[in-house]
């Protein structure tokens, strides 16, 4: 859900970002193929996945990135700008999991005239814990900026 515009002055280090949950259902598997157009078989073909050494099929990089980016874009508002984003596909989200996506502000500062906020973002599930740690560098408007 889209949030009201957030301003740099109002952000506190340590504050949590509103996250969300995604159930990894059979319908979600089809949605991820439609939405990511990633046709690599370990994401929908159990036998192919197992032959490669995976226990089961797992969610795609495109899907996972979209979810983690959404944690930021839901929060930062139309005037925010995701300048840089990094994430690691360490563990898997699989059918039956509840993929929980979260974020937290870890730093804020001004650099080259830009008002930056650093956040950690991650996905987790009950089976694996944190599956996909990431970091985001976001430029936020200040109150009174003419563009905001």
């Amino acid at each position: 859900m889209k949030q009201p515009q957030v301003y740099w002055e109002d952000v506190a280090v340590g504050q949590d970002l509103p996250g969300f949950e995604l159930e990894i259902t059979p319908k979600r598997l089809y949605l991820q193929i439609s939405g990511s157009q990633d046709w690599y078989p370990p994401h929908f073909d159990v036998e192919f996945a197992r032959k490669a050494g995976h226990p089961d099929i797992f969610m795609t990089t495109g899907f996972t990135q979209a979810a983690l980016v959404r944690v930021i874009s839901d929060w930062m508002g139309d005037e925010g700008w995701l300048r840089r984003f990094y994430f690691e596909m360490r563990r898997q989200n699989r059918p039956g999991d509840l993929m929980v996506c979260k974020g937290r502000v870890t730093n804020k500062y001004v650099r080259d005239g830009q008002h930056l906020v650093e956040c950690e973002v991650w996905a987790e599930n009950a089976r694996e814990g944190v599956t996909t740690p990431g970091r985001a560098w976001v430029i936020l408007p200040r109150r009174g900026d003419s563009s905001a």
Binding site: Q37, G53, T61, F63, D74, F85, M89
Partner: protein, 178 residues
Amino acid sequence: MSGYDIEAVCKKYIGFETAVSQGRYPVEYDPIRRHCHMVEDSNPLFLDPEYARKTRYGQVICPPSGWLAMYFASLGPWPPVFESLVPMVPTPGKRIVNMSQEVEWFVPIKVGDHLSVKRRIVDVYQKSISIDPEAVWIVSDSIITNQRDETACIVRNTLLTHRTPEEVAAAQAQGARP
């Protein structure tokens, strides 16, 4: 051992740049909608032309996902005009897993933009994983530009390539044979 020569591969491929490949179609509404749908993203900036027109962007923009930018720059057209890194870079195994991505954003991608991509190989190295002692990792940059030759984003991807357990066992059996 498979006889794979990592030093020769590094020498030949690190620094290699592909030609620029242009996506066949411009950035369109519906792939963005499908991308949002998969993660229940209802942000009107990505979905609603009327809403977006009143923002500073003046047009629906893509969510800042490097994957979606790559889709429009390369993977959308059929037949594809984008050569995958494997087998471009020779590796013992053909199974792949994306391990990490870093995306730097410079300008927004709007509906109607026409994107292109050029890729360069940044690093290639061998690092074992539990199922394959000869797994090869490929780090690449994809530089995505728009029709004004502005760099929209740079996507750095770390790709793990590995063999199946069957392939590893077969190679080990062959190596043990007198």
